[in-house]
């Protein structure tokens, strides 16, 4: 028991809780992070788009026009400082392009491609404004486009103003937001994991302590487990274990007693034999008398050996499943014929009545059961008395009753009836009854021994074995 190998078990409680809690929490955090990042990005874009638009508008203020329609001539005077105000830092660069409605460059850089889009039907801004992504000399840019009507005393016209800004700032800001979010979420995950590990550790500590104390137990220590600190949920497990321990303890006790008694019982006839032989050799008793005594001793030892082996065999057969359906009546009659010489020797008034009784079991078990029952009865029946065997069946059970006119069972023996070798027995070892009971139990039945009393006297004993009938299907 101390060497018990770690059996294949389910997942550890700690891992179970960690996975069970961290997995959903982690998933939720991931979704949360992505959403947060997106929202932050949107907010940043909107804010920067606004400044971009503002710079486009301020450029629009600086345009003058002469003439109207196709003859309109535009003049611009955009100083560098006009844009500088809108540059958020020195990393992003701003460029602009002013062109006529027909796409003719009026001012600014020709590197910024002419806007050819259509205005959105209902953008977030007033009409004539749009934003889009583009590239200037290979750098990605964000562009605000403004269709600006220009009016002055000298004329009226329409220009397209595009202002582009490189993306460094927006990207830096977005990265910053992402890192901040991720840091905060990981911190949360770590805290949760630590708490789970700590709690599980604390919760399972009594279990580990109990296991350790069980492992350290002496091999034959089967006393009940005492674990006061154990969580209430584990109480049933401990109770069940204690019950198993109690049963094992009982079994072990019985087995110890059996081995002790059995070795005593086996040694006794050998000792007796030795004395008998030696006293015959020294001519203390006449040889014939000694031999008769020896013969009786040998018979006793033979019967004992047979019974002990029978008991072991019951245990062995109980594990095997190769049973068959047998007619108990046939077996009872065959055994009765076998034992008839013993019945005749005691001049018993013997009678038998049997009904067909199909029983599922091993033939040897049934024969041994019947033989022991009948043999016991013959042994205890007074010379010339009545001995009856009756096998009856009802719907589900067969009942085999052997009735003798013997002394019955004295009250003081009743408690130890099925214990072998109990002191004060008048019938020898008592193994016969134990064999009967073991077989009856193995076949799913039971055995009862009842004194037949009339007018305060015991007339004899009814030994009844009830066995379940084999189902006919």
């Amino acid at each position: 028991m101390a060497e018990a190998r770690q059996p294949r078990t389910g997942m550890s409680l700690r891992r179970y809780l960690l996975l069970g809690i961290l997995l959903p929490v982690g998933l939720f955090m991931l979704v949360n992070t992505i959403t947060l990042y997106r929202q932050a990005l949107d907010a940043v874009n909107t804010a920067y788009d606004r400044t971009l638009l503002a710079s486009a508008k301020s450029i629009g203020e600086l345009i003058e026009v002469e003439g109207a329609g196709a003859q309109a001539r535009f003049r611009t005077n955009v100083p560098y400082s006009a844009l500088e105000a809108f540059e958020a830092d020195n990393r992003s660069r701003m460029v602009y392009r002013i062109s006529t409605a027909q796409g003719e460059l009026i001012d600014g850089t020709p590197d910024l491609p002419q806007w050819r889009g259509r205005l959105p039907d209902q953008g977030p801004y007033a009409a004539l404004v749009d934003f889009y992504d583009d590239a200037v000399r290979g750098d990605a840019v964000r562009v605000a486009v403004l269709l600006q009507p220009v009016a002055s005393r000298l004329g009226l016209g329409m220009v397209t103003i595009q202002v582009a800004e490189t993306l460094e700032l927006r990207q830096t800001l977005a990265r910053q937001i992402l890192i901040d979010t991720l840091l905060r979420q990981s911190l949360l995950a770590i805290v949760i994991a630590l708490v789970v590990v700590l709690v599980v550790q604390r919760a399972t500590r009594p279990v580990r302590e109990l296991s350790a104390s069980l492992r350290l137990r002496a091999e034959d220590d089967l006393t009940a487990i005492d674990a006061p600190g154990l969580p209430r949920e584990l109480r049933p497990l401990v109770d069940a274990t204690n019950q198993v321990m109690a049963r094992l303890h009982n079994l072990l006790d019985n087995q110890k007693r059996f081995v002790r008694d059995a070795s005593h019982q086996l040694r006794t006839p050998l000792a007796v034999l030795k004395v008998q032989v030696q006293s015959a050799l020294r001519a203390d008793v006449p040889a014939t008398q000694a031999l008769h005594e020896i013969n009786r001793t040998v018979e006793r030892a033979t019967a004992l050996a047979h019974q002990m082996l029978a008991l072991a065999k019951v245990e062995q057969l109980r594990q095997q499943s190769d049973t068959q359906v047998l007619d108990l009546a046939t077996i009872v009659r065959a055994i009765a014929l076998d034992l008839a010489p013993l019945i005749a020797d005691k001049n018993l008034d013997f009678g038998i009545e049997t009904a067909q009784a199909p029983i599922r079991g091993h033939e040897w078990m049934l024969r041994e059961l019947v033989r022991n029952l009948l043999h016991n009865a013959i042994k205890h029946a007074p010379d010339g008395s009545v001995l009856g065997v009756r096998l009856l069946t009802d719907r589900h059970f067969a009942a085999l009753t052997v009735s003798d006119n013997g002394p019955g069972i004295p009250a003081q023996l009743r408690a130890r009836l099925f214990q072998p070798f109990s002191a004060g027995r008048i019938d020898g070892s008592g193994l016969g009854l134990m064999i009967c009971r073991e077989i009856a139990l193995a076949l799913g039945g039971q055995i009862t021994l009842d004194n037949r009393d009339s007018h305060g006297r015991t007339d004899g004993l009814d030994a009844t074995v009830r066995l379940p009938l084999a189902s006919t299907t």
Binding site: R333, L337, A340, P341, F350, E353, T354
Partner: protein, 226 residues
């Protein structure tokens, strides 16, 4: 009667040989399976006593080989393996009877004589063994039952019943089996008729030293008194 005793335990071999020879049998002991087969073939004994656990060749194997080579000698198996399984195997392999160790010497002698009688009755040479029970003797030649110099006055049915019981004296015979022997080919007769025969027989046997025991519902048994 010549016996072949195949048994490897020297103590048992010696005592069995001694006691069976005292009872008028000639015993050839042998402790080895292979050797035993040769002796069996050469000497053609009347009955073979066969122990199951042998060195050289297992007892069941000896029996199987003997039967295969056409040896029909009746075989009585002696063994300490007292299980039904062995019993069935033994009889299926061609054994004629079975006795579990430890056994009673009288029982052994009775079984040996019964086997010998059976083979003699089936055309064997040796018919010298007599069926006796107490003071009664079954005359092999006439089939009559003799009490001293007198012949018992029995009806044919009573005689058939007595013969069967005497051949198995001391052991019980089931009433169904007796019925078939006493009323052969008479299906109209009631089962109870056997009780009438037994009743008359018991009266005729009164006071001559044998008892016909009735096992109600089971059968009958003849035993010598005393």
């Amino acid at each position: 009667m010549r016996l072949l005793l195949i048994e490897d335990d020297p103590a048992l071999q010696t005592s069995l040989k001694r006691t069976l020879e005292r009872r008028g049998m000639r015993v050839q002991p042998c402790g080895d399976g292979l050797q035993a087969l040769d002796i069996w073939r050469l000497q053609q004994p009347d009955v073979v006593l066969l122990d199951l656990s042998l060195p050289g060749l297992d007892g069941l194997e000896v029996l199987a080989q003997a039967r295969q080579s056409g040896l029909l000698t009746p075989v009585l198996i002696l063994t300490a393996r007292g299980t039904v399984g062995d019993r069935v195997i033994g009889l299926n392999t061609g054994a004629d009877d079975y006795l579990a160790k430890p056994f009673d010497l009288d029982e052994l002698e009775a079984r040996i004589r019964a086997l010998n009688r059976r083979s003699a009755g089936a055309g064997g040479e040796n018919a010298s063994d007599q069926v006796v029970c107490g003071p009664l003797r079954l005359d092999a030649a006439s089939g009559a039952i003799q009490h001293g110099f007198k012949v018992l006055d029995l009806t044919p049915r009573e005689l058939r019943m007595m013969r069967t019981l005497m051949e198995r004296a001391g052991r019980a015979v089931a009433k169904e089996q007796l019925f078939d022997i006493v009323f052969p080919g008479e299906p109209d007769v009631q089962y109870e008729a056997i009780e009438v025969v037994a009743y008359r027989l018991r009266k005729k046997l009164g006071g001559i030293g044998v008892t016909l025991v009735t096992l109600r519902g089971l059968g009958y048994l003849l035993k010598a008194d005393g």
